[in-house]
């Protein structure tokens, strides 16, 4: 629950974007889409972990059982 998760997501996003365009230059269209998909899933995984932590915390604070 620290601030570094934002920089991780931003880093992965920029890396995926660059990887996508590089692979497109090499003419490997499918690998480019696969790389983007991999980047997006990793980012989603981290975001979902953060959200589950948030929702548990809110549930305990507001006693929203």
């Amino acid at each position: 629950m620290d601030i570094s998760i934002i920089f991780k997501i931003a880093g992965i996003g920029i890396l995926t974007a660059v990887l996508h365009s590089i692979l497109k230059q090499f003419g490997k269209e499918e690998q480019a889409h696969l790389a983007t998909l991999a980047g997006v899933t990793i980012v989603l995984f981290m975001v979902i972990q953060l959200l589950s932590g948030l929702f548990d915390y809110v549930r305990s604070v507001f006693s929203l059982y």
Binding site: M1, I3, I5, I6, I9, A10, I12, G13, I14, T16, A17, H20, S21, T36, G39, V40, V43, L44, M46, V47, L50, L51, G53, L54, F55, Y57, V58, V61, F62, S63, L64
Partner: protein
């Protein structure tokens, strides 16, 4: 002191959002979700302190705890619904945001009914 960190982090996230926006829209939205969730968590300790004060006051005034927990639930639902609706609105999906708020209103209405009934009963009892 935290406000400086939050503003700084918000500006940095906005810049990253703009960088990612034209290439990878989905990761940009994930970045927004991550930032809003993070700020929500950071602010939750302060909200908890405020709620604790309300609880102590209610205990002193021996108000029925059921009403207070209902009010806390309603506040929690409102916060989370607004959190989700704004992210959806940020991603230009107005319909989804509208539906989230619609569902939140219905749930809050359902939660508020016991309190309304209790108030009406006390009013009826007051009238001789």
């Amino acid at each position: 002191m935290e406000i400086l960190q939050i503003v700084g982090l918000g500006l940095i996230t906005t810049v990253f959002y703009l960088i990612l926006k034209e290439r990878k829209e989905e990761i940009a939205i994930a970045l927004t979700i991550a930032f809003t969730a993070l700020i929500f968590v950071l602010m939750m300790d302060k909200i908890q302190a405020v709620l604790q004060v309300f609880e102590d006051l209610a205990l002193k005034a021996n108000v029925n705890m059921f009403y207070l927990t209902t009010v806390f639930k309603i506040i929690g639902i409102a916060y989370i619904a607004e959190f989700g609706a704004q992210i959806c609105r940020d991603a230009d999906s107005e319909a989804i945001a509208g539906k989230i708020e619609f569902a939140a209103k219905i749930i809050i209405m359902v939660l508020a009914i016991p309190i309304m009934v209790a108030i009406l009963e006390t009013i009826v009892r007051l009238i001789p």
